[in-house]
């Protein structure tokens, strides 16, 4: 059984239909890259998965549990919503680290508040995560003292600290200088090597090609083409062909 099943998602913003029927599945341990131009609906799709937006119709199922079904008229309660969100983690394009907390506190804040273990366990886990992204010496620094690449790596550690089943990335390197994208992509690749289930919205074609198991190309609110990374070498659809010419 797939860990993630997305069925027929539609989403309007006012009069504009941004998602016009999205269907896909994801297996555990797979890395899915979503590519496409601005306005194709990639970010909206990701936000629907993380319950930051609510689709107008369709279903989303994670590990057998329905986390969203437009048929059910009842809006979930605050507590139910929070439970559903915990299946996913999200790394934002502009990091969104909490500026008033140190690196270590950023990573431990949510687990401690949600009592995901004893404080010692949480801190120990956080230290290991921060070390795994290569920022052991920075645990007491504040986000304003870090470079963009460092902040993004902390954001990844922070998302991992909540132990999500599926980790999502919303254009994780788009806000970074080219020199800094490498360090972040390295971290994502190491997570892929550890078989973390991930969905990455990105413009980094080389990365998408090398690290993903599956690629979805979105255009105008629909999935125009999907398949193995080889579709980047041999695109079948015209839309994908013309999209790739700019890379």
């Amino acid at each position: 059984m797939a860990i993630l099943e997305v069925k027929d998602i539609h989403k309007h913003f006012g009069k504009t239909e941004v998602l016009k029927g999205i269907d896909f599945t994801l297996e555990k341990g797979e890395v899915l890259s979503i590519i496409g131009s601005s306005g194709s609906g990639k970010t909206t799709l990701l936000r629907c998965l993380n319950s930051l937006e609510f689709a107008d119709s369709g279903q989303i199922t994670v590990a057998g549990e329905t986390i969203f079904d437009a048929e059910i008229n009842k809006r979930p309660t605050e507590a139910e919503l929070r439970q559903k969100r915990l299946h996913f983690g999200l790394v934002f394009q502009n990091f969104n680290l909490f500026p008033q907390y140190s690196v270590l506190d950023n990573v431990t804040l949510a687990p401690k508040l949600l009592k995901k273990g004893t404080n010692e366990e949480i801190t120990q886990n956080a230290l290991e995560l921060i070390e795994s992204v290569g920022l052991k010496e920075k645990i007491d620094n504040f986000p304003c003292e870090l470079s963009g690449g460092q902040q993004q790596r902390v954001a990844i550690a922070r998302a991992l600290a909540m132990n999500p089943e599926i980790l999502c990335f919303d254009e994780p390197t788009s806000a970074l200088d080219p020199e800094l994208t490498g360090e972040v992509l390295k971290v994502i690749k190491s997570l892929a090597d550890k078989h973390m289930t991930m969905i990455v919205v990105t413009h980094e074609m080389t990365f998408a090609h090398d690290v993903s198991d599956k690629i979805i190309f979105m255009d105008g609110g629909v999935i125009a083409e999907q398949g193995a990374p080889s579709i980047l070498d041999n695109p079948s659809s015209d839309r994908l062909k013309s999209f790739l010419t700019s890379f």
Partner: protein, 350 residues
């Protein structure tokens, strides 16, 4: 500018201010009364002529340069104190004695207008200091009390109002915005008068009571409401100024709305609002003087009372000017405290 130059300028300014203050106190009071008398501005009350036209007072007359007023020293027969006052010629006629330092008797022709009244012996500044500053201190305590109570009430109420201002529920949002508009759109002075007098108008008796305590609490209610509305706008700006990504980051980590507000938004909001809040709070220090409009005895009231008559001292204006020192010192202290707070919050950037 170099720190030393800056300090020198501040020291010079303080010395100039002190010199000016002492000049006013020691040299100017007498001329103030003269100028007042010469401009014929009635300062006091009338002494009625007796029903039969009699009623004489014993006094010494001093002439001055102006022909229209003369200064007389009145020895009221039923008190031991000597009074000095300016009268207007024509209000009385001399019925015995001569001018120039002799005791004379006058008879009022009609009501005698008294332009300024002094307690002669105590018109010297040194004797006044103790009395004046004791009265000013008492007034300042009232000022301080009003200031602290206002802060205590207006900050939580302001937070509540700011949540109402951001509410998506129309029955909450609309009334709250109307209240904020009305309270911010009318003078605090007017609100003080309305809050003090309107309940009496509507219910028939003054619910506050006529004493100082009642006036204080009426002032407190008016100030708390007024400043809560101003604070609410600052709080709202602070909360809405926190990027939406911060809230979303909290949400995807599974935090509740409450946790997000207290653990993520609040500190960022606090840092943002320190400068505008310091402005409002320092304004509050001085706004407390408006309470005198309903005769609450804060420090300006205490200072101005000496111009007419207070604690046996009359017709001096420097107590009023001296209240400035209290305000300067207190707002200076607050400025330092806010600067310290800003420094403390400097460990992160929003």
């Amino acid at each position: 500018m170099k720190k030393r130059t800056w300090l020198a300028i501040c020291a010079a300014a303080i010395i100039v201010a002190l010199a000016f203050f002492f000049y006013i106190v020691y040299f100017k009071d007498y001329d103030y009364s003269m100028a007042d008398a010469q401009s014929m501005e009635a300062d006091g009350y009338t002494v009625s002529a007796g029903a039969d036209g009699s009623g004489s007072v014993e006094m010494k007359e001093y002439s001055n340069k102006s022909k229209d007023v003369s200064g007389v020293q009145l020895n009221a027969s039923d008190t031991d104190e000597g009074f000095f006052m300016w009268l207007i010629k024509g209000d009385y006629e001399i019925i015995a004695g001569n001018i120039n330092n002799e005791v004379i008797r006058i008879s009022p022709k009609s009501d005698i207008r008294i332009l300024a009244l002094y307690n002669d012996g105590a018109n010297t500044p040194h004797a006044n200091f103790k009395i004046v500053f004791a009265a000013l201190n008492k007034g300042f305590v009232q000022t301080l009390k009003l200031f602290l109570i206002t802060l205590l009430g207006a900050i939580p109420l302001g937070l509540l109002i700011s949540f109402g201002s951001m509410s998506k529920i129309k029955p909450i949002y609309v009334p709250v915005r109307m209240i904020v508009w009305v309270v911010r759109g009318t003078p605090l002075m007017l609100q003080l008068l309305i809050i003090f007098y309107m309940p009496g108008m509507l219910l028939g008796n003054n619910i506050w009571g006529g004493d100082e305590r009642g006036r204080f609490w009426a002032s407190a209610v008016a100030f708390i409401l007024n400043y809560a509305c101003y604070f609410s706008e600052i709080f709202r700006g602070g909360i809405q100024g926190v990027p939406v990504g911060q809230r979303e980051a909290g949400q995807v980590l599974g935090l509740s709305k409450r946790q997000i507000f207290y653990r993520v938004t609040l500190m960022q909001m606090v840092k943002r609002i320190v400068p505008p809040m310091s402005n409002e709070i320092i304004t509050l220090v001085k706004d407390t003087s408006l309470a005198r409009i309903i005769a609450m005895q804060e420090i300006i009231w205490a200072g101005q009372a000496f111009m007419k008559s207070s604690h046996g001292i009359h017709g001096i204006i420097w107590p009023l000017f001296s209240t400035g020192i209290y305000y300067l010192a207190f707002s200076g202290l607050l400025t330092l405290l806010f600067r310290r707070l800003e420094k403390k919050l400097d460990y992160f950037k929003v």
